[in-house]
């Protein structure tokens, strides 16, 4: 979930021509807290854009990724999720309800002793467990 006032302008600033499909896909991604999969994005938009194809969703997300305006989330090996918030933060996946939550990570506290002279370009921190709502509801 991030707030972008003018998505068309934002895409152009990042070297992307704003087609209807690209606008809608980015809009959906920036307005959700769900870290959706291709499937979820496709299902959510196909009513609004009945001709939309999954190929376009795949192509568009790959384009967004190459331009650095979306991040790929690989918590689970069988589902690739996407996030329009490219600032560094952690992701917690609840194994009960499947929801993915964001959380802040103070990266300055982390030391990388073995990685001296390595060029770090991407950073991902993933947790798995059970969220407090599932813990309450199911008395797990």
């Amino acid at each position: 979930m991030i707030v972008i006032e003018n998505i068309s302008k934002y895409l152009l600033e990042n070297g992307i021509k704003p087609s209807v499909q690209r606008l809608k896909i980015f809009e959906y991604l920036s307005n959700t807290i769900e870290h959706p999969t291709v499937e979820t994005i496709f299902n959510a938009l196909s009513e609004e854009i009945p001709t939309l194809s999954k190929t376009t969703v795949y192509n568009t997300l790959r384009l967004f990724q190459s331009k650095g305006i979306v991040n790929v989330i690989n918590i689970e090996d069988n589902e690739t999720r996407y996030d329009a918030d490219t600032s560094f933060h952690g992701h917690f996946k609840c194994t009960e309800c499947g929801k993915v939550y964001d959380f802040k990570v103070d990266i300055s506290k982390i030391k990388f002793m073995e990685l001296e002279n390595f060029k770090i370009m991407e950073s991902h921190y993933y947790l798995k467990g059970i969220c407090k709502y599932c813990l309450n509801n199911n008395n797990l």
Copy 2:
């Protein structure tokens, strides 16, 4: 890379009957620093066990995972890697040479403000970038 003196005993202690395939797969996984994929494990062992099938590698790794003696590494969405070192540590993937390096992470320094009352069961920290050897060799 971890040192297990008696792999057969180690498997039994974790509720796994030590067949030849299971022993060899775990031995390979515990002796390497490469965080191999199913493909890599299969190729490395098929000379020694000519009848080995990928299905067995898949089944065995799933079994090891369910018993908690291997961890799955999902840095990249198109390659699932495996690690017999289940202690918490970070993984750095070099996007040039493809190698995955381990590094220590002092998890006590990380605070999870938004995750109060969440039950954390797994923790993964992944970095991507360019390792010092590729930086030196290619003057990137």
